[in-house]
């Protein structure tokens, strides 16, 4: 008899948790308890993970080269563990990214949160953000504009760690001679982004 009771107890509870979760997410957002909202976005290169704080876009991760959990863990550790999926908060980001990949958008109109960028990298990425669509600079040139012409290596590592690629267009920084160089999404993606923008890159990687 007790087996029957235990079996029935095991089947207790039930469906409907999906809706309950959705309602909770909406309430978390209303209650301003959401420190980091994230969603997936599509790109011709694979899915992206996009994340925003109340201050703005804080992270764009390439899921074809990195693991979603690793990106989320990093956000939890470095910003706040109150990280929740909330596509609505990222609708505008995703729309603008779509337009960009379609060739219909040349500049992003988004607030960014640079909480993941520190020190010299702030200057480097601030200069990088000013490079116009379809043009490019070398690492040395960006280093110079950031105030230290000899720091091209530091500039390179700042760009390699850019937490908001595409929107902060680190793909527009090349090695001297037009060599494509490295990219978080892979060198091929970098070359295709430059081609999408119609950049006249002299050399090939």
């Amino acid at each position: 008899m007790s087996d029957r009771i235990e079996e029935l107890l095991r089947t207790g509870g039930g469906d409907g948790v999906g809706e309950a979760v959705e309602r909770f997410l909406a309430k978390a957002e209303d209650g301003q308890l959401l420190d980091v909202a994230y969603a997936r976005a599509e790109s011709p290169f694979g899915d992206l993970l996009v994340a925003a704080t109340p201050r703005g876009l804080v992270r764009v991760g390439f899921l074809h080269t990195m693991d979603e959990d690793a990106v989320l863990d990093e956000l939890a550790t470095r910003i706040s563990p109150r990280v929740l999926r909330s596509p609505a908060r990222l609708d505008d980001v995703r729309r603008q990214l779509d337009e960009y990949f379609d060739g219909r958008r040349r500049r992003f109109e988004l607030r960014t949160d640079r909480a993941l960028i520190h020190g010299f990298a702030r200057k480097v990425l601030a200069q990088t953000a000013r490079i116009p669509y379809g043009s490019f600079l070398t690492y040395g040139e960006v280093a110079a504009e950031a105030g230290n012409p000899r720091a091209h290596r530091a500039a390179g590592s700042a760009l390699a760690r850019n937490p908001i690629p595409i929107v902060i267009p680190c793909h527009r920084v090349l090695r001297s001679g037009g060599v494509i160089g490295n990219y978080g999404g892979g060198p091929e993606m970098k070359a295709r982004l430059l081609a999408l923008e119609g950049a006249k890159v002299a050399g090939t990687s």
């Binding site: 235990e6 107890l9 207790g12 309602r23 308890l33 929740l84």
Partner: protein, 158 residues
């Protein structure tokens, strides 16, 4: 150890917490308790001590929200207990088998600690050790609560 993204807690435990609350307070109240549980958890999440057992902690929060709901409904003018709907009967929900809704009514009539222990053990599949953490008692005391709860159910539901 650092705290995982809250979304991971939600993904891993929302369903079990939902089942726990339905077992404790019935489906009508469970919805609100679920919201209150996860909102309270999210609010205090950043103050959590590292190395906490996150699952046991969530169940602890859920239990306290269920007790709040009970207190509220006892004060409410028409405290009609609504048993959960019968589910997963092999014959489509109406027929020869005893309706398991009767069992949930019996569960609802258990003393709070036994009810929580029984639901945690069977509906949510927690170990006695984890149940002890949720109920803030020893493993043995948790085991006894489960045992006594089931014994009581066996007496009234046959």
């Amino acid at each position: 150890m650092t705290l995982p993204p809250f979304q991971a807690l939600l993904d891993d435990h929302a369903e079990a917490i939902h089942r726990f609350l339905i077992g404790l307070v019935g489906p009508a109240e469970a919805e609100d308790c679920f919201q209150e549980t996860f909102l309270a958890a999210l609010r205090s999440y950043t103050r959590l001590r590292e190395g906490s057992n996150l699952r046991a902690w969530l169940f602890t929060v859920a239990r306290s929200k269920a007790m709040d709901a009970h207190r509220r409904s006892r004060r409410a003018p028409v405290p009609v207990a609504e048993p959960p709907e019968p589910r997963r009967s092999g014959n489509g929900g109406h027929g020869v088998e005893p309706v398991d809704g009767d069992l949930w009514a019996a569960v609802a009539a258990l003393p709070e600690k036994q009810r929580a222990a029984v639901v945690l053990r069977f509906t949510c599949d927690l170990s006695h050790r984890e149940i002890g953490r949720v109920l803030d008692c020893s493993d043995d005391a948790a085991r006894r609560s489960v045992h006594e709860g089931v014994k009581r159910l066996r007496e009234v539901w046959a």
